[in-house]
């Protein structure tokens, strides 16, 4: 564990990504404590002010401070993205491990299932779910949990197939170690690296998808300061108050770059040698 963190911190990409995310998290936590503005309170006297020393990112059409709202929105987007990535990731890893380790009909059944889910375009699936259950944050979770595990299941299955054939795993069967111990303690740590690296790009995509779904009214509902919603609300003012669009957009890009860098750093740090 320790040498991995060391290696992560020594790689410029990993360090950069980590610093960016930490800075964002600190800002998210600290802003409500130090900011004089409320992300929800209306103040029509100060509507559509451009960025300046008092309102760093300007204000929106209701006079709300955009800097405060963007950081409050980070809580939504990061919570949604991490839950919708790491939850399905655990499921997918377990599925992939079982499929690759047990093989036979278990493998066939699980992989057919991934094919079926994969065959539905994601947005069609979300539209169907939202159509049936109505829009809202909870239904976003359902949609992502149904879909996001597939990639992990496939990645981990492929790795497991290779590792299960290695001689050290055969030695474990001769020693009669049970499947749970063999899979979780001896195969998983060697199979999971590409899944972790993939999860970083998955986070980037999921942040964007969350924003996009909210943009189309399918996800988080107003007046939450979710980034996609901030952009929707800005559309009518784009010409006169472009800062309303630019800063939430930059926030999405910032998080995307941070996760991408962290993924690159992790890819190097998680190799067993070096």
């Amino acid at each position: 564990m320790k040498p991995m963190l060391h290696r992560l911190l020594r790689s410029p990409a990993g360090l950069g990504g980590l610093v960016m995310l930490l800075a964002l998290l600190i800002a998210v936590v600290a802003t409500p404590l130090v900011s004089p503005y409320d992300p929800y309170a209306l103040d029509f006297g100060n509507a559509l002010l451009p960025p300046d020393a008092t309102h760093w990112f300007g204000t929106d059409n209701f006079g709300r401070d955009i800097f405060t709202r963007v950081l409050a929105g980070a809580a939504y987007d990061l919570r949604l993205a991490t839950t919708c990535v790491f939850g399905p990731m655990l499921l997918g890893i377990l599925v992939g491990l079982c499929a690759g380790y047990f093989g036979g009909w278990i493998d066939v059944a699980l992989m057919r299932l991934t094919d079926v889910v994969w065959a539905f375009p994601f947005y069609v699936l979300v539209l169907t779910i939202v159509g049936v259950l109505g829009p809202g944050e909870g239904n976003l979770y359902i949609a992502f949990f149904l879909v996001n595990w597939i990639g992990y299941a496939r990645i981990v299955r492929g790795e497991t197939l290779v590792i299960a054939r290695l001689e050290y795993v055969q030695a474990l069967s001769i020693l009669r170690f049970g499947p749970a111990r063999t899979m979780l303690r001896h195969i998983l740590p060697n199979a999971v690296t590409p899944a972790i690296v993939y999860s970083m790009s998955d986070l980037v995509l999921t942040v964007q998808a969350v924003a996009a779904l909210s943009f189309f009214g399918l996800g988080v509902q107003p007046p939450a300061p979710e980034w996609g919603l901030l952009i929707v609300e800005s559309v009518d003012y784009m010409r006169d108050a472009p800062w309303m669009t630019i800063f939430p957009g930059l926030a999405i890009a910032f998080v995307g770059v941070a996760f991408a860098l962290l993924g690159e750093g992790l890819a190097a740090a998680l190799q067993p040698r070096g």
Partner: protein, 334 residues
């Protein structure tokens, strides 16, 4: 005396059926990786298995430890048929590739202690550590090795760790599948010496698989020669090397310059290619490469008593062992 017995053991691999096969309802081609092998390993001996690549050595090893099940016949330990790996860990295995036979993410100490804990659940953590240290000492590694990861070790050191891991359950048989083939010559000798010392000190039985005649000669008490899934000759090591009686065994020896020179006989190195393993005949499987083949060889050959001891699967062998060599030298001249 017999500790491990292969009783008429076969392991066949059906080929993947092509669509045409399925349509025509042809049965799939079958590869007889191990075919009706009868073999007894005596307590305390080191039995060598030798043969070219693909003759079924590793399959036989996996059958012995229970990684694969026999299609026919049975593997008996101390007279009892085995089903899968032995729960008491009495048969353990050392593998060929030192780079994939250890979990790269565990320290040597952690992986040995885990094995110890698995077989001796009542030991305290300190006792487990001591037992793991003892295992390292038995294979000639310093105690500090326990804190290292596999990538910090050389191939030879890893093979020692593999042996230590295999010894942790206190097995009675060690199956070693080409344990030195991936190592440098000097390191090979060290590992061979280690196995020899273990056998002498603890009386452990070793099933030693190799394609290297020199190594086999150095280490083994008896040797089984395999060809295309069958044992074609089985003999005490001296008899085998002094008077190989199966033409295939003789060919293997000729391929080794040192042994061939020592025997001072004309060189008749193995010619020809191994035939398609899916299309083997009922008669002598070696016939396609045998210089002495004649029509009678097309009938199934049985393992029969050989002159000078052991068994051989060639009807010409006992009386012709000497004569064949004369014929061959004469035919070489013409």
């Amino acid at each position: 005396m017999t500790l491990l017995e292969f009783r008429d053991v076969s392991r066949h691999f059906p080929a993947r059926r092509s669509l045409a096969d399925a349509v025509l309802r042809r049965p799939p081609a079958v590869l007889r990786a191990v075919h009706h092998v009868d073999l007894s390993v005596d307590r305390g001996e080191t039995l060598g298995i030798v043969g070219e690549s693909g003759c079924g050595k590793s399959t036989l090893a996996r059958l012995a430890v229970g990684l694969q099940a026999a299609d026919e016949g049975a593997v008996l330990f101390d007279g009892t048929p085995m089903q899968g790996p032995d729960p008491a860990g009495r048969i353990q295995m050392v593998f060929q590739d030192p780079y994939s036979s250890l979990n790269p993410r565990m320290t040597i100490g952690a992986l040995l202690e885990e094995v110890v804990a698995h077989y001796h659940r009542d030991l305290s953590a300190a006792e487990r550590r001591a037992e793991a240290g003892e295992a390292l000492r038995r294979v000639g590694l310093p105690a500090e090795t326990a804190d290292k990861y596999p990538h910090a070790l050389s191939g030879g050191q890893r093979q020692r760790v593999s042996i230590a891991r295999a010894l942790c359950p206190r097995p009675q048989i060690l199956v070693a599948d080409e344990p030195v083939s991936a190592l440098d010559a000097s390191v090979q000798a060290q590992i061979i010496n280690l196995l020899q010392r273990l056998s002498a000190d603890t009386g452990i039985t070793i099933l030693f698989i190799s394609h290297d005649m020199q190594v086999i000669r150095h280490l083994c008490d008896r040797v089984a020669v395999m060809y295309l899934g069958e044992v074609v000759e089985l003999a005490p090591v001296d008899r085998l090397f002094d008077q190989p009686q199966h033409p295939y065994t003789a060919g293997l020896m000729e391929a080794v310059p040192d042994i061939a020179r020592r025997r001072g006989e004309p060189r008749v190195a193995l010619g020809g290619e191994m035939p398609d393993p899916y299309a083997v005949i009922d008669g002598c499987r070696f016939a396609s490469r045998c210089r002495f083949a004649e029509p009678r060889c097309e009938t199934p050959q049985l393992l029969t008593d050989a002159a000078g001891g052991g068994l051989v699967r060639c009807w010409k062998a006992p009386p012709l062992a000497a004569a064949s060599i004369q014929t061959s030298s004469r035919s070489d001249l013409t």
